[in-house]
C-alpha cells in the first residue's frame, strides 16, 4: 500500500500555477494514448487525426472559432460565478433560453427586416439568458435554495421547452413536418467575418470582447475585488460591506446574459434557425473551459480553443477511425480531472509514502538527514 500525503506550501507556488494546465494536458494525452491503444488504434495515428488534421487548413480554423466562441462566452461568465463561490451549472439552459428569446423576432415577425434586427435579437438573447439565470439566483437569495440543483434542473426544463416550441407552435408550416422553425431571413443572420476563407462569424469577436471586458472587471474594478473577497472569505466580505445577495444576482445575471448571447449567436450564426437541439453540451463543457483557464478570462480564451479542438477531433476520429464521437466527452472529462488534480500542486507538495518501507530503511533515512546538513 502507498499513501499520498499533502504538505502545505508556505505560499502558493507560482511555478505550478503556470505549469498546471500544461501538466494536465500532458497527462490527458498519456491517458488518451492508453485509451486509443485499448480501442485497438495506433495512438500516434489517432492523435494526428484528432489534434493536428482538424486545424491544418484555414477553413478548419474557422470551424474551430465557431466551436470556441460559445465555450469562451459561457466560460467567461461562469468564471465570475465560480470565483465568487457561486455554482451556476445551468448555463446549458440559459444558452437555450437565449437562443429561444432571441429568435422571437425572426420567427414571429419574419417581415421585420433591416439593420436593427440583429442587435435586437442579440439583446433579447442576453435578456432571455439572464432572466432564466435569475430564477436560481432568486430562489437562493429568497429561500436559501441550493443553486447547483435548481440551475441544473432548469436545464432539462429549457431543453423540453425548446423541443415543444419547434415541434408545436413555432414549427415551420412549409417545413414538411420537420421539427424546426423557418430559416431566418438575411437580416437575422450573424454575418461571417471572412466569407471567402471560412464560416467563422461575429460570435468569436463577441467572445474575445467579453473575455477582455470581464478581465478588466475582475482585475481593475472594485466589483472584481468584491467577487474575489466574497469568494475566498464571505465573512471578510460582509465586514467590508459587500452584499452576498447582490453578488449572487450579479454573478448569475452576468453569466446568464453571456450564455444567452452565446445561444442566440449560435442560432443566428452557425445554425440559422431553431432546432430541437441547438447545443452539443456547450454549457457543460464551458465548466471545463472555465477551470482549465484558471478562472481567468484570458486563460479561458486559450482553454476554449483547446476544448473546441476536442469537439472537432471527436468528429474527425469518428469519420476516419469509426470510433464513437463520445471520445470527445471522455477527453474533456479527463482534462478537467487532471486540471483539478494538478491544481493541488499549487498549494501543496505531495509526498508519496510507501507503507512498505521497512523499519531499518526508515531509520537509515532518519540518520541520513543530519549527515547531509553536516556535509554542507
Amino acid at each position: 500500500m502507498m499513501r499520498l500525503e499533502l504538505v502545505k506550501r508556505p505560499q502558493r507556488s507560482m511555478l505550478f500555477s503556470a505549469l498546471s494546465p500544461f501538466i494536465a494536458f500532458a497527462l490527458t494525452m498519456i491517458a488518451g494514448a492508453i485509451m486509443f491503444a485499448l480501442l485497438g488504434v495506433n495512438p500516434f495515428n489517432a492523435f494526428h487525426i484528432y489534434f493536428i488534421e482538424p486545424i491544418s487548413q484555414t477553413w478548419q480554423l474557422h470551424e474551430l472559432a465557431i466551436k470556441a466562441a460559445p465555450l469562451i462566452l459561457i466560460a467567461v461568465g461562469l468564471s465570475v460565478c465560480y470565483k465568487a463561490n457561486i455554482w451556476n451549472i445551468g448555463a446549458e439552459g440559459q444558452f437555450v433560453l437565449g437562443g429561444i428569446v432571441g429568435s422571437m423576432i425572426p420567427v414571429l415577425f419574419p417581415q421585420f427586416e433591416g439593420p436593427l434586427v440583429l442587435p435586437l435579437m442579440l439583446l433579447l438573447g442576453m435578456v432571455g439568458g439572464a432572466a432564466y439565470a435569475a430564477i436560481p439566483a432568486l430562489l437562493k437569495t429568497r429561500f436559501g435554495t441550493n443553486e447547483i440543483l435548481t440551475s441544473l434542473m432548469l436545464v432539462y426544463v429549457a431543453q423540453l421547452f425548446l423541443d415543444w416550441l419547434v415541434r408545436g407552435p413555432w414549427r415551420d408550416p412549409q417545413g414538411h413536418g420537420f421539427p424546426q422553425t423557418i430559416q431566418f431571413g438575411d437580416s437575422a443572420i450573424l454575418p461571417e467575418l471572412m466569407p471567402d476563407a471560412g464560416r467563422a462569424n461575429w460570435g468569436f469577436v463577441f467572445a474575445i470582447i467579453a473575455a477582455l471586458l470581464v478581465w478588466v472587471l475582475m482585475s481593475r474594478l472594485l466589483k472584481g475585488f468584491e467577487v474575489r473577497v466574497l469568494g475566498s472569505s464571505p465573512r471578510a466580505g460582509r465586514f467590508a460591506g459587500f452584499g452576498i445577495n447582490r453578488m449572487v444576482f450579479f454573478a448569475f445575471l452576468l453569466s446568464g446574459a453571456l450564455a444567452g448571447l452565446a445561444g442566440i449567436s449560435e442560432v443566428s450564426g452557425a445554425i440559422g434557425q431553431l432546432q430541437p437541439v441547438i447545443s452539443p453540451g456547450y454549457g457543460f463543457t464551458a465548466i471545463i473551459v472555465a477551470f482549465l483557464g484558471r478562472l481567468n478570462p484570458l486563460g479561458i480564451v486559450a482553454a476554449g480553443l483547446v476544448l473546441a479542438l476536442t469537439y472537432l477531433g471527436g468528429e474527425a476520429v469518428q469519420s476516419a477511425l469509426g470510433i464513437s464521437d463520445k471520445v470527445a466527452r471522455v477527453f474533456q472529462g479527463m482534462l478537467l480531472f487532471f486540471v483539478l488534480g494538478c491544481d493541488t500542486l499549487i498549494h501543496y507538495r505531495i509526498r508519496v509514502i510507501g507503507l512498505a518501507l521497512t523499519k531499518p530503511e526508515a531509520a537509515a533515512k532518519l540518520e541520513a538527514t543530519p549527515k547531509l546538513k553536516e556535509a554542507r
Binding site: R3, L4, E5, L6, K8, Y82, W87, I89, L139, F143, G144, T145, N146, I148, L149, T150, L152, M153, L154, Y156, V157, L160, F161, D163, W164, R167, G168, F284, T285, I287, I288, F291, I323, S324, K326, V327, A328, R329, V330, F331, Q332, G333, M334, L336, F337, L340, G341, D343, T344, Y348, I350
Partner: protein, 306 residues
C-alpha cells in the same frame, strides 16, 4: 383493483433507483463529502450492468458488475477529493461529465441490443395472494435490496458506534481528527459505498426498468437523487418517502401522456424536474430544519495537519 396494483408496482420500479442512489449519497454526505457525480456513477453502473449481462447472458452478473462499476468510478472521486484535496463541487461535476462520455463510448456496440431482465420474485403460494401478493412478494430483487438498504443505513447511522463516528466526522472533521479518528479512511469507505449504491441504481435502470442500453438513460435521476437527500434533510426514512413521491410524479406524467391528456408531452416530461425545484424551495424555506441537519463540514476539503 388490478390497475391500482399495477400503478403501485410501476411507482415502486420508478422509485427504486432514486431511493438507492439517494441512500448511498446520504451516507457520503453524512461523512461530510459532497459527491455531485451521482449521475455519472449511475450511468456507468447502467452501462457496466448491461454490458456484463449482455456478454455473459446473466443479469445477475450484470447486477454485480453495475455495483462494481459504480464503486470503481467513485474511487476516482475519492482519490481526487480526499487524497488530493480538490474542490468537491468541481470534481463531482467532472465525474458526471466523464461518466456520461465514457458510458456513451463503452455502450456504442450495445445500442439497440435486446437485454435480459432480472426476474421478479416468485414464491409459490405467496405471490399469487390477491392484491398484496404481487406488491409484497412479486417485485424485482433490487426493490427488496433498496428497502433492506434503507433499513440497514438507518440502523447503521443511528444505532451503531461506527455510524456515530461517521456522523461526527461529517459535523467536524477537525475535532474527529483530533480524537484520533481516521477521517480520510472513513470518508474513502463512505464515498465507495455511495458509488456502489449509485452503480446499483444504474443497474436497476438497464436491467429492470428498461432492460436495454440507451445513451444518457439516467436522464437526470442522479441529480434528483441529490435533491432527495436535501429534501430528506439527511434522514434515511424521509429519503424513502421522497423517492416514492418522485416515483409517483415520474409515473404520473407517463400515464398522463399515455392517456392523451391535452397538455404538451414536453410539459409533462418536465414535471419531475420542476417538482424537484419546487420541493427544494419548500424544504429550504424551513431554515431551522436544514441548518440543524446539514452535516456542518459538508463539502469542505480536509487536509490533516501533522
Amino acid at each position: 383493483m388490478d390497475i391500482t396494483v399495477n400503478i403501485l408496482l410501476t411507482i415502486a420500479t420508478a422509485a427504486t433507483p432514486l431511493l438507492i442512489a439517494a441512500i448511498g449519497e446520504l451516507v457520503v454526505e453524512r461523512s461530510g463529502v459532497l459527491n455531485l457525480g451521482v449521475e455519472g456513477m449511475m450511468i456507468m453502473g447502467a452501462v457496466g450492468g448491461f454490458g456484463a449481462s449482455y456478454l455473459t447472458g446473466s443479469p445477475w452478473i450484470g447486477l454485480l458488475a453495475a455495483i462494481a462499476m459504480g464503486a470503481l468510478f467513485s474511487l476516482l472521486f475519492a482519490v481526487m477529493t480526499l487524497s488530493l484535496a480538490t474542490n468537491q463541487v468541481a470534481t463531482g461535476l467532472s465525474l458526471t461529465l466523464l461518466g456520461l462520455g465514457l458510458s456513451g463510448m463503452m455502450g456504442t456496440s450495445f445500442v439497440g441490443q435486446p437485454g435480459e431482465r432480472l426476474p421478479n420474485l416468485d414464491i409459490p403460494g405467496l405471490t399469487s395472494i390477491p392484491v398484496v401478493g404481487r406488491l409484497l412478494f412479486g417485485q424485482d430483487p433490487i426493490f427488496y435490496i433498496s428497502i433492506a438498504l434503507t433499513a440497514a443505513v438507518m440502523w447503521f447511522l443511528f444505532k451503531t458506534r461506527t455510524g456515530l463516528t461517521l456522523r461526527s466526522i461529517g459535523d467536524s472533521h477537525t475535532s474527529a481528527h483530533a480524537l484520533g479518528i481516521q477521517v480520510i479512511r472513513y470518508r474513502y469507505l463512505a464515498v465507495i459505498f455511495g458509488g456502489a449504491c449509485a452503480g446499483l441504481a444504474g443497474g436497476h435502470l438497464s436491467l429492470v426498468y428498461t432492460p436495454q442500453w440507451v445513451e444518457n438513460m439516467s436522464a437526470g435521476r442522479g441529480w434528483i437523487a441529490l435533491a432527495l437527500v436535501v429534501f430528506a434533510s439527511w434522514r434515511p426514512w424521509r429519503v424513502l418517502a421522497g423517492a416514492y413521491i418522485f416515483g409517483a410524479v415520474w409515473i404520473g406524467q407517463l400515464h398522463a401522456q399515455a392517456f392523451g391528456i391535452p397538455v404538451p408531452s414536453q410539459l409533462l416530461s418536465s414535471l419531475p424536474y420542476l417538482a424537484t425545484v419546487v420541493v427544494l424551495v419548500l424544504i429550504s424555506r424551513n431554515k431551522r430544519l436544514t441548518m440543524m441537519n446539514t452535516p456542518a463540514s459538508l463539502g469542505q476539503p480536509f487536509v490533516p495537519d501533522r
